[in-house]
Symmetry: C2
């Protein structure tokens, strides 16, 4: 697959994804709640997690309706976590994806509720009355719940919160980021794979791919935080440094962090080769785009 | 069933429930998160929702392992909503179940994360690797997600938020409370019923029972808010009045609110009679305890 074919696939996938998400996030939820939810999740973001779900499903020849629902659910979890993260009691950030954060636009109470409702909606979209086999619904809910909760994203946030102003070694930093970002990225890959008949070997190798890619994503995030300005990032640059948060750059230095990102990309591609699947080109090119991105 | 038998059933159910919940809420979650989650959900509260799940499951002769998981999941949702509700940007309350609220004890950021992680955990406990048939897992997740989200609890909170200082008519007040409290109480009944082989007739009648009981619960809450002091309630009394929130008492007056509670109890019992189930005594006595409670 060449770069042009990949770009075409990304564009077509994103179009279908945005339409599906727009359809699923209720405009009519009461008292401004729907408006806040839609503001927080529609029309912005790189949509890396949904692309991982769809690419992984395609690699195993899976059910595309279920995968699209799964793509929407992981993005809802990701978007809700950003809404809560940005609030004054957490990172206190006012800018996200180039526009005011949800609590700035709608107030703190509505932002907290919107985040809460988005998490519930993530599980609602995985459990429609028809269209997804019940056993697959259960599997997708299981993967999502475990990646979002205490042992995944929320647990990583708690470590993050406790680490401000502290020195962390690379092992602790890696554990924090594995939970905070990596586990949901990996779950995206696993949820896509669950939509099709993947062998045990392929499933394990895809888990390895997801783990390497998840960590690479965070390493690159830390690099961009110090090398890019806010306009390019669409969020406040230099934030982690200012908050005295440990990052891969602060722990390893910029050059070693760049080398680590390259090493993780190689690990991700080696894992793809070990899947035994015929066409993993989308997943491979997504790993490239994670490491080579500039925002 | 006499009152003594019912009390014995309640006590045995609560003992088993507390042990199950204690087992499921992780002490080991990182950086104090597990401690905050356990503080928020263990060792307190009336546990009405879990009792409804267990009583409903018993009425249909359902799977008690699945029902216990469902009981834990609804209580996790209820408890997380209290944690977020009590925060300064919402109701700003400092006392709950006779002790400091979670954000007072652990800080706002940790309280928000604990609530978020508790919602994820609710879906995690419904989707174990073994012990609950996948189709039942999917059904339970579906019921829980819909009752917790924009069309249920979170939507009701948003209406509540927007209603402060406003006059509401009884229809709007009823819609707010149906979403905010009623839908999760009703879902507790439905999740219990889903654990067994309930007929369409029984399922519909149990839904009616849950709707009447859910509304009765809120009417009684509003009555107690003005007739009891904080020590008996274990939370700040007179709060709604002080916040200028519309309640059943402010809209209907105290006597009419009391009459409505009695009417809803009668509706709940009529619905139970329409289930066609052999033994609905636990559900019937739970309706009594909701209307007759003093805290």
């Amino acid at each position: 697959m060449n770069a042009q074919d990949f770009d075409r696939w990304v564009q077509a996938s994103l179009n279908a994804f945005e339409a599906a998400l727009d359809d699923l996030v209720p405009a009519g939820a009461p008292a401004g709640l729907g408006e806040a939810m839609r503001y927080a999740v529609l029309g912005g973001g790189k949509r890396l997690r949904p692309l991982l779900v769809l690419a992984s499903c395609a690699a195993v020849g899976g059910d595309s309706f279920a995968a699209m629902r799964a793509a929407c659910s992981v993005e809802l979890i990701h978007a809700y976590s950003l809404v809560h993260d940005d609030m004054p009691c957490m990172d206190d950030d006012v800018m996200r994806r180039g526009k005011p954060t949800t609590h700035v636009a709608f107030g703190e109470a509505q932002a907290m509720l919107a985040g809460d409702a988005m998490q519930a909606l993530a599980f609602e979209v995985l459990t429609p009355d028809t269209g997804i086999a019940p056993a697959l619904q259960a599997r997708l809910c299981s993967l999502l719940a475990r990646s979002a909760g205490h042992d995944g994203m929320a647990g990583g946030q708690a470590i993050d919160l406790a680490s401000i102003g502290k020195q962390l070694d690379e092992v602790t930093l890696r554990d924090m980021h594995r939970r905070k970002t990596g586990v949901l990225l990996q779950a995206s890959v696993m949820m896509g794979a669950a939509c099709g008949p993947a062998s045990t070997q392929a499933t394990q190798a895809l888990a390895d791919y997801g783990a390497a890619l998840g960590l690479a994503f965070q390493v690159v995030d830390d690099i961009l935080d110090v090398t890019q300005d806010s306009t390019v990032l669409g969020k406040t640059a230099g934030k982690d440094q200012d908050a005295n948060k440990p990052t891969y750059v602060s722990v390893l230095g910029l050059e070693a962090a760049r080398a680590l990102a390259q090493q993780l990309r190689a690990e991700a591609k080696a894992a793809l080769a070990a899947t035994g699947l015929a066409d993993v080109s989308h997943l491979s090119l997504l790993a490239d785009s994670v490491v080579e991105r500039d925002n």
